[in-house]
């Protein structure tokens, strides 16, 4: 009896170790194969494990890329249907589940009131546009992201190109990053999301329950030369422009030079990469 128990414990111990170590080995083995698609998932994302060196927390190198976005709020006011189009495009591109209950809600990009997006910019007597119109909010891909600082496993990290992404395989679901994000841009899979995906996109992994997710600036699309899904959904309106903030000749830099722009909560020192023309 005693002997059997010993054997069982041995086998159990070794298989636990193998199980724990195994995932790490797989991570190492496949690292670097797909640097641009650093988004892995519980479902079918084994080959997407994030390259190891990209986990380092560092400032975006001045010579390298720093992706950013300029959002023209006026264009969203001209075309009220645009907001719905961009969030739809994102939902389809990223297999974002749509739950019947608000409590389970997961969202990457959505429209919210001006004063919700910019609480520090409230005024007593608002002009009509401020009062009525909505602005899109998404992850700011901060240059100094508090969520990355908080993550205890480096499951969320800043890529070399400035994009803050998630490794869904490594996330333990502690939700420290959600408490740390001062913009409320992170969502958690409170339950299995796969049953609530309306249109499955085979090119992007779905997630499992118990991990955090958020906008990834369509890292998987820009890696193959496409625009982010929301930017593409804007068509020729120019409502959202995506590009390299470190390139002085880029379209985003041109827009930043020509227009007065604001960022969300700049006083917090996170240095958001999303700018708004108001």
């Amino acid at each position: 009896m005693d002997k059997k128990r010993r054997d069982f414990l041995k086998v159990a111990g070794i298989s636990t170790l193998a199980g724990l170590g195994g995932t790490a080995v797989v991570d190492r083995l496949v690292s670097g194969t797909h640097p641009s698609v650093a988004n892995a998932s519980g479902g079918h994302g084994e080959e997407h494990a994030a390259p190891k060196e990209e986990h380092a927390v560092q400032e975006a190198p001045k010579t390298g890329k720093r992706y950013g976005m300029v959002i023209d709020v006026k264009k969203f006011q001209e075309d009220p249907a645009l907001g719905e189009r961009i969030s739809r495009a994102c939902i389809q591109a990223h297999n974002i589940p749509e739950f019947p209950e608000k409590k389970d809600e997961i969202k990457w990009i959505w429209m919210t009131g001006y004063e919700n997006a910019f609480p520090e910019k409230s005024t007593l007597y608002k002009d009509e546009t401020t009062e009525e119109h909505q602005v899109p909010v998404l992850c700011n891909h901060c240059d100094n992201p508090p969520c990355v600082r908080a993550c205890p496993t480096k499951a969320t990290f800043k890529n070399k190109d400035g994009i803050v992404i998630m490794d869904f395989h490594r996330c333990i679901g502690c939700r420290f990053c959600m408490a740390a994000c001062p913009y409320g841009m992170r969502s958690f899979n409170w339950r299995n999301p796969r049953d609530f995906i309306t249109e499955v996109n085979r090119d992007f992994p779905s997630r499992m329950r118990g991990v955090v997710e958020k906008c990834n600036f369509c890292a998987e699309r820009i890696g193959v030369g496409q625009k982010p899904a929301c930017v593409e959904a804007c068509g020729d309106t120019g409502a959202m422009v995506f590009g390299d903030l470190n390139d002085p000749e880029s379209e985003v830099r041109k827009l930043l030079k020509e227009n007065y722009t604001i960022q969300r909560r700049p006083s917090l020192g996170t240095h958001p990469s999303v700018f708004y023309i108001v």
């Binding site: 790490a24 490594r170 939700r175 959600m178 408490a179 001062p182 409170w190 118990g210």
Partner: protein, 390 residues
Amino acid sequence: MFEKALKGNNYYWMWLAFLGFFVGIAVICYLRQYFYGLGLTGMSRDVSWGLYISQFTFLVGVAAGGVMLVLPYYIHNYKAFGKITILGEFLAISALLMCLMFIMADLGQPLRGLNVLLHPTPNSMLFWDMCVLWGYLLLNALCGWVILTAERKQVAPPKWIYFFVYISIPFAFSIHTVTAMLYCGLPGRHFWLSAIIAPRFLASAFAAGPALIVIMALILKRVANFDAGKQAIDKMVTIIIYAAIANMFFVGLEFFVGYYSNIPGHYHTLQYLFFGLEHHGHVYNNLVPFMWGFLILFVIGFFLICNPQTRRNNDLWLGIGCASIFLSFWLDKGIGFVLGGFVPTPLEEITEYYPTANELFITIGIWAAGFFILTILYKIAIGVEHEVEA
């Protein structure tokens, strides 16, 4: 020494069975949560931490409170605490085990918990919290066990153990400081973003922890024929009084800064917690009763442990006083502090949190498991005490 825990009277076994019943329910509830996901709790993307993390935060304080016995005894050679220091150490062990259980219950992917070790991340406060919590747990287990073994053999504890005893003192302070840093370093959460959080945590810990030890000592006097000694209890009550005053002082300072500066971010959460926060014509106030309970229980408890009549002449009133202080600070830190911090959300909305029944049973079960462990540890400690006396 474990054999001491295997012999007890009927009340002992009935008490363990009572706790075991709640542990059993919690196991079933946890399995439900494990297979469904944390969606079975009342948490949402707006209130992303709930009862589990708030209990964890409070219990770190209870664990740290044990140092209020260890420090006077070992640093100041305050002999009266000699007999009950072990109660503080064993309370720390069970409180820390409860903390770890609450963390595991809160993880979305508990099986990946070891990722914190596989990918150590020094910039994350959670990593450091894990280090100090495990460190403090091991230190207490080691010191408690070695000193109790020495006592049983009626020899002086080995010299080397004092090294670990002295280390455990800064560790006690560090566990609650680092736990405070989980909150007070987050940009954009104004209620938590206050340098006074760590001292406030320590103050309430040094009241709530010893308050629980006094209650335990009073109970053990009745049920286990273990007398902690009048002098020791009285000194502990003095410690509780000063720590409780310090905590209330810090709470008062938060109020002053919030309301006098009149900066919305600084008083909104206090407004929500104590008076209800109006937003788009609706007043959100589901935590107000808890916060007033905190204040009222503090006043009652404070009167009972300060008034010489109730403090020194009557164990029952003293026990009720300490229980009031303990409950009061549980409401403050184990309910209000963590849950309030999520109101309002970064998008200036208000989502109120209501725990589900499943979540409540898991919470109760983890508390029961902690008291189960505490009962066994105290049984061993007192068994050794009686053996030495006999």
